[in-house]
Subunit: 293 residues, 2 copies
């Protein structure tokens, strides 16, 4: 059984009432969200999932900044980041320090007709991702349906916001499993590489690491940003680029990056085997696990 | 203050455990959904909103059938429609019979790691929609970003399923208000007419009523289906068609149809005034309000 910790924010937004404590711990199994909460009735909210290792949450400020950005895209009340930070640290402190873990931050618009958003932090010990980090993943390529330059003209599509409206991302993962794949990579309707349903895509060409440009309505990856930092320290160059899907075949190696599974090398794309860069994968995951912030 | 009624299903799916009662009434303000429920963390669930008039829920079987269809698209356990029907009727019975009302059915995948879906029915008295039904709506046209024929090739995009992942639909309504409009009409990236964020589009050309074809990944409208039935009784012809966006200018009259607001004539499109067909709107709304099922 995993260890689980739940903390509910007293005032998750900056304009909330002053509170004596920023959070209260709650029973994970007990009901928390009202039937009228727009987080569940309309998927109107945002989230972040942070990795935790050796008792430390990773990339905390990058995740909080992204939550703030997603919230602004949904026109949610501005989150009180200091309250979120304090709640996050309290959850991490209750998780076993000798295991990898994750904390999910969820911030919703709150009950319909009300004026108070809802927020909580849920922590749990993580499954063992060592096979994905070493053996790698079989991935399939899926059409995201939208042109790569859609965000500039249609911001209401919320591309690039990490919202609770993730049913499509989950359906994409089911489609991947139906194709005997472990995960998916989305391409735009005009064949540009985007991201995975719950991950960023990283490509290596010789001494150059590249990730698809976030100008294409995809999430700025927190793990990908740290991977770039590590890679530059190793003497590689890094860049954000608009890439045609054929780059999947041209790259020397591919990874999917996410906050808890970290760097998972891609071992095949739609059934075509790809070389796994085991050496760099090992170094990169060690560096990601060792992050202190 | 609106009257509100909440009933929680004991076993919302067909494979659920046998229960002595299919539902229990619950406090609307009390927490209902667990922090781990995939309905809130991933928008993984489906919903239906039914109109209620004179103590009767309208288009019950059409809504239940659509919920079942949406659930299948999300690969949720098959809903137990008889339990949902019984719960729905129990909620309607507790609502004041002398006012219009609505009941929302919500069905989620349930807590992550569990194997039990979550379901509830929430009823409330409806706001007064008479202004929308008579004066009509100012609408704006918004790009949905996807080509009109996307569902055939990319079912994982869940187009045509009524899911809880509605953040984009809500953002589209905010964009409409920003443009001083009351509502929106989506067009595909290749300029075909689709639907509103929470409504179906109906167009009148002489004695012909037309609605965009559901082959385009849009919801089959329950109110629209009943409007077609009424119109045929009045001697009009009805059809489902793939329509270019220019049909918005060519049509003699336009409506947005939904289960609670019913038939709202469109009085302007992006600031261009349109004639409101007050006579037909009045007859249609009277017929929709008089439905018995």
């Amino acid at each position: 059984m995993p260890t689980e910790v739940l903390a509910v924010l007293t005032a998750p937004d900056r304009d909330g009432p002053a509170a004596s404590a920023p959070y209260r711990f709650a029973d994970v199994a007990a009901p928390l969200v009202a039937a009228k909460d727009l987080g569940v009735t309309r998927g109107e909210g945002v989230f972040e999932t942070l990795g935790v290792n050796a008792g430390r949450a990773q990339a905390v400020e990058a995740h909080l900044a992204r939550m703030q950005r997603s919230a602004a895209m949904l026109e949610l009340p501005e989150p009180d980041l200091s309250a979120w930070r304090e709640t996050l640290f309290a959850v991490v402190e209750r998780l076993p320090a000798d295991r990898e873990a994750s904390v999910k931050l969820v911030y919703t618009r709150g009950a319909e007709g009300g004026d108070r958003p809802t927020g909580w932090a849920y922590g749990t010990t993580a499954p063992d991702h060592s096979a994905a980090r070493t053996r790698g993943l079989a991935v399939t390529v899926l059409d995201r349906g939208l042109p790569h330059d859609i965000t500039g003209t249609a911001p209401w599509l919320l591309q690039g916001a990490k919202t609770l409206s993730y049913a499509m991302n989950m359906a994409a993962l089911r489609e991947a499993r139906r194709r005997d794949a472990d995960d998916a990579v989305f391409v735009s309707s005009d064949d540009r590489l985007l991201e995975g349903p719950t991950s960023s895509l990283l490509l290596r060409f010789g001494d150059r690491l590249v990730t698809p440009s976030t100008s294409q309505g995809i999430l700025p990856g927190t793990t990908q940003a740290d991977a770039f930092r590590f890679a530059r320290g190793e003497g590689l160059t890094t860049s954000y680029e608009v890439l045609h899907r054929s780059a999947l075949e041209q790259a020397d190696a591919l990874w999917l990056l996410s906050s808890v599974r970290l760097a998972a090398p891609v071992r095949s794309v739609d059934g075509v085997e790809r070389g796994v860069d085991a050496a760099f994968s090992g170094l990169l995951n060690a560096a990601l696990l060792a992050r202190r912030e």
